[in-house]
Each structure stands twice: as C-alpha cells, then as structure tokens.
Amino acid sequence: MTAPVTAQRPARAARGTGRAGLLVRPALIGAGLLVLWWWAGSQQLDSIEARNVNGEVIGSQVLEHVELTLICTALTIAIAIPLGIAVSLSRSRAGRLVVLSLGNLGQAIPSIGLIVLLALVISIGVGTAVIALVAYAVLPVLRNTMVGIEGVDPVLTEAARGMGLSRLAVLFTVELPLAVPVILAGVRTALVLTVASAPLAALIDGGGLGEGLFTGLTLNRPVISVTFGVLVAALALLADWLGLLAETSLRPKGI
C-alpha cells in the first residue's frame, strides 16, 4: 500500500522513568568533560598542542560548531516539514516516491563524500558545508513528517471532515498536532546527525570542532584529536538530550 518507510520512533522512555531520568544524561556528560579536562591538564603539552588545546581555541570552535549546527538544523526543519506536509496533502504516490528516494539517495552517499563532492562542484567554505549537512539531515525530518501525518487514524480525519472542517483545517487541528511526537523524533535524529557530521565541514574550510580534530590527526597529536573528539561526542549527546526534552515537553497532552 505505502512505500516501505521506517520512521524514527518518538521517545516514550522519558515518560515512563519520570522527569528525574532526564537529569542523568547531562550529569554523565558533565562528568565525562571533567575527566577530559583533568586528563588533558595532566599531559605535558608541546607548543603545537598548547596552541590547540586551550580555552580560547576550544571556546571559539565549540561556538562555531554550535552555530553551524543551529543554522543547518533550522534550515533542515524549514525545508523538510513544509515539504513533508505538501507531499502528504497532495496524496500523490509519485511525489511521495520521488521525495523519499531523493532523501534516501542523500543519505546513502557517505557524508564525507557528499561534502567533498559539493566542494568540488561549488566551492569550499561554510556555505557549501551547510548545503551538504542540510541535504544529509533533511531525510529523517521529511520522512517522519510524512509518516507522522499519514499515521493519524483515518477515523479522526473523517470525523473532522464530517463536521465540516476544510482540508487545511483538518491538517492544522488534527493531523499536525497528532504527528508532533513523530516529527520531533525526526528532528532529534537530524540534530544529532548534524552535530556528528559537522566536523567534516572543517575539511572544506567550514570551521567548527573538526578543525582541532583534523589538526590532531594530521599532525599525529593524540592529545588534540582525543580532546576534540570527546567534545564532539559530548555535543552530540547533549543535542540528543535537548531533543528528548523537546519531545517530552511538546508532546500534546492527552495522547
């Protein structure tokens, strides 16, 4: 009946374990960062390492990374949700297939390949990095928007149509609110994907934590690469946690 599509499941765990469960994650991340800070501080740093592993460089790269992620995620949402709504509204099977295959294609290409390819075709720089990261993150949001809307019980849409709501009114009063948990699960996936892929931006001069990471790798300085690697991981976990928070607080009451 419908193209085989698997959507990211909305989080339910946070509900079951209560609000306290949501506090464990940031505590663990904080502990990890403390360990990192203690370990890096205990190392003898040579001049190259000292130039990279210091508060100022780390601070500015984290900021760049977060900025890049926020811009990409905002663009991803702005493109994927309206597109997903439009495809669901049109009820066009062809449209659905085209959009999903394009999205799948985007994700099947390894992100590093996509970034380098785009840099070759367009140019190096932040703009290209943004395009590549967005192209990569659109699919989960798009897919979940479509699946979320299509997953609304047809009985409810018929009840809404039957009371005289227009197609658009049905979308906004019934379908979208009920699809929110599924859509947010897609956004969370996209967010984590972006944080974790954003280091690749440094390959084409796009800035972010990738700069430190690749410096460490190319100059064979494990202290640098481990520091920046752990920071990326911590950011990704934090992003996932923020996504979970959003899912728990924005889930409509009553469902």
């Binding site: 019980d153 009985v155 409810l156 018929e158 009840a159 809404a160 149509r161 039957g162 009371m163 005289g164 709501l165 227009s166 009114a169 009063t173 019934v174 609110p177 009920l178 409509p252 009451k253 009553g254 469902i255």
Partner: protein
C-alpha cells in the same frame, strides 16, 4: 434559556434515484435508492453487512459523492452547496466515535461552534448544556477522551455532533461498541433526547431489535441498498413485505410487537380490590407485563404511575388483553 437545544427543528431529506458506483467495481454499491425521510423523524437503515448503509448515509453529507441521482435537504439540492458549509449543518456520529485524543472534552464538543465564530462564553455554555443533556458530569469538560469509558466517549460523540445545533443528524451504528446494558441505557437516553430536540435522524444499524426500538420508520435494505420495505416498526412486524424482511424480524415476532406497545397506550381495566397483585409502571411495555405475569404466575397485573408500593394505581392489565393486543395488531393491517 437564550439558546435552546431544540433551536433548529429537523428538515426533510429526500433521496431520488441515488446511485453510487465505486471506481473499478462492476456492481454499484448503492443502486437507484429513492426515499423520503420526514422532518423530525428517526429513520433506521437496517441490512446485512456490506449492503451499502454507510455509503448511502455518507452521500447525504457528501463524504461520498453520488454517481447519479439527487439528494435534497429542506428542498435544497445538496450538490449545489459548498461541501464544508453543508457538513456543518449535519451532525455526524461515527461508529468508531473518533474523539480527538489531544483535545479536552470541551474542545472536542466546542470545536465547530468555535470555528463558526461563537463567543467563548456562548461556547462554554453550550458545552455545559450538552454535557448535561447526554448525562455527563460538568467537570468532565476538562478531561481528555482517554480518561473516559467507551460508553462515556460515545455520549461525547453524540454531544459533539449536536454542538452546532444541526437540523439533521447522521448516526452510523452509534452504540455499536458497547455492552448490551450500556447500549440499552444509551438507547433510552437517546430517545429521551430526541423527544426534546426533534432532529431528522438517519440511524444505521445491523441490529433489527435496535431498529424496532429506535425508529419512527425502518428501511430494510437488500444488497446495493435496494429497499425491501420502508414503513413503521409496527407495520413491518404486522406485515413483512416478503421472506427477506421476515428473516430479518427473525423468531419471536409476536413478542417484538408487544415490546413496541407501551402500557400507557393500552386500555386498562379497573383495578380489582384484591391485594398482593404484581405491580408494573405505566412506562413499561406490554411485553414486560407479560414477562411479569409469567414470572409471578398471575394472569393480572396492577399498572402504577410510578415505582414504589405507594404509587398511584392506574388500573390493571389482564392476560386476555395482552393476547388481544397481539392478535389485533396481527389481524388487520
């Protein structure tokens, strides 16, 4: 009361040669149906599964567009109306209830009135009025649907359909999903409600006993919604048009006839002066009285105005009268 529940009385619905052919199907799902549904009456469509009841009903509110034929409500051809506008004037109760789970009961009921631009206070008053009408406590307004039982949800479904005071109601097996006791209770409440609101109601069911109880008229349908008989419950029981209709009535046709007859509509004999006779209220049916006679081994029962031992005795009913009632109805149409 500024806004009375009985605000807009029912309007006559007329179907003329209405046919629906689903794309890619050899046989039409509904073929050339013509019927008049008089204003303020409950017409029950009854027939086997798949015979086209739902399709026929949904063509009235245009959730399904007829392939040919005309449908008018209050003389207006519904195909000339804007479908959304048209549906706002028709209450629709679906079998699966379909309350919006993310909206509180008050927002489920108040959704359409709000969209029609009613003021907040008017919507709130309407919700309170409807909750009372369907027999739910006022504080249920703040609950979510999943915090209600199935039967309670079904009542909210009816309240929601009545919200904008539509002259016409379509009810597709509205009490299908409940146990027999709740169902009986909801049916009684519904009949009480209808005596107040006097809407034109199209009511779909598979259950002939429910049809007998609810309908002012019953349309017994064959496949493709072809009408086998369209008449009052009494007339159908007294003279089924053919074997198909008779098979719907099933066994116990005489008892069903007695179940339609209320004691208040029967001529009672004066009460005898002997004590200890079984008592029954005047709201009960002749069938209930017969059941009581059989249970108590008495061929006469006292009919009272109300429950209780000190209620006023209106008269008595004899077994002979019961048999006469059955024969009389059966005898001459």
């Amino acid at each position: 009361m500024p806004e009375s529940i009985t605000g807009r009385p029912g309007e006559t619905i007329e179907l003329t040669d209405v046919t629906k052919r689903y794309p890619g199907q050899a046989e039409p799902a509904v073929e050339a149906v013509s019927m008049v549904i008089p204003a303020g009456e409950v017409v029950v469509l009854v027939g086997p599964s798949g015979c086209g009841k739902t399709t026929t009903m949904k063509m009235i509110n245009r959730l399904i567009e007829p392939t040919s034929g005309t449908i008018t409500i209050g003389g207006t051809d519904v195909l000339t109306l804007d479908p959304d506008q048209h549906r706002r004037d028709i209450g629709y109760v679906i079998q699966q209830i379909g309350l919006f789970p993310h909206k509180r009961i008050e927002d489920n009921i108040g959704l359409l009135p709000k969209r029609l631009g009613w003021s907040r206070s008017r919507v709130r008053a309407r919700v309170a009025e409807l909750l009372e009408l369907v027999g739910l406590p006022a504080d249920y307004a703040r609950r979510y649907p999943r915090e209600l039982s199935g039967g309670q949800q079904q009542r909210v479904g009816v309240a929601r359909a009545l919200a904008a005071d539509p002259p016409v109601m379509l009810m597709d097996e509205p009490f299908g999903a409940t146990d027999p006791i709740t169902r009986d209770h909801l049916q009684n409440e519904f009949l009480r409600l209808q005596r107040e609101v006097r809407k034109t109601i199209v009511f779909v069911t598979h259950d002939f006993d429910e049809a007998l109880k609810m309908g002012d008229r019953i349309a017994v349908l064959r496949p493709r919604s072809v009408i086998a008989q369209y008449d009052t419950p009494e007339a159908i029981l007294a003279a089924p048009a053919d074997d198909y209709v008779a098979s719907f009535i099933g066994a116990g046709g005489q008892l069903k006839k007695l179940a339609l007859l209320r004691l208040r509509d029967v001529e009672l004999a004066p009460a005898p002066r002997v004590g200890g006779l079984p008592r029954i209220v005047v709201d009960a049916t002749v069938r209930d009285a017969l059941d009581l006679m059989l249970g108590e081994g008495s061929d006469v029962v006292l009919v009272t105005g109300d429950f209780g031992d000190d209620a006023e005795v209106l008269g008595s009913l004899h077994l002979q009268t019961v048999m006469g009632a059955a024969a009389g109805k059966a005898g001459n149409p």
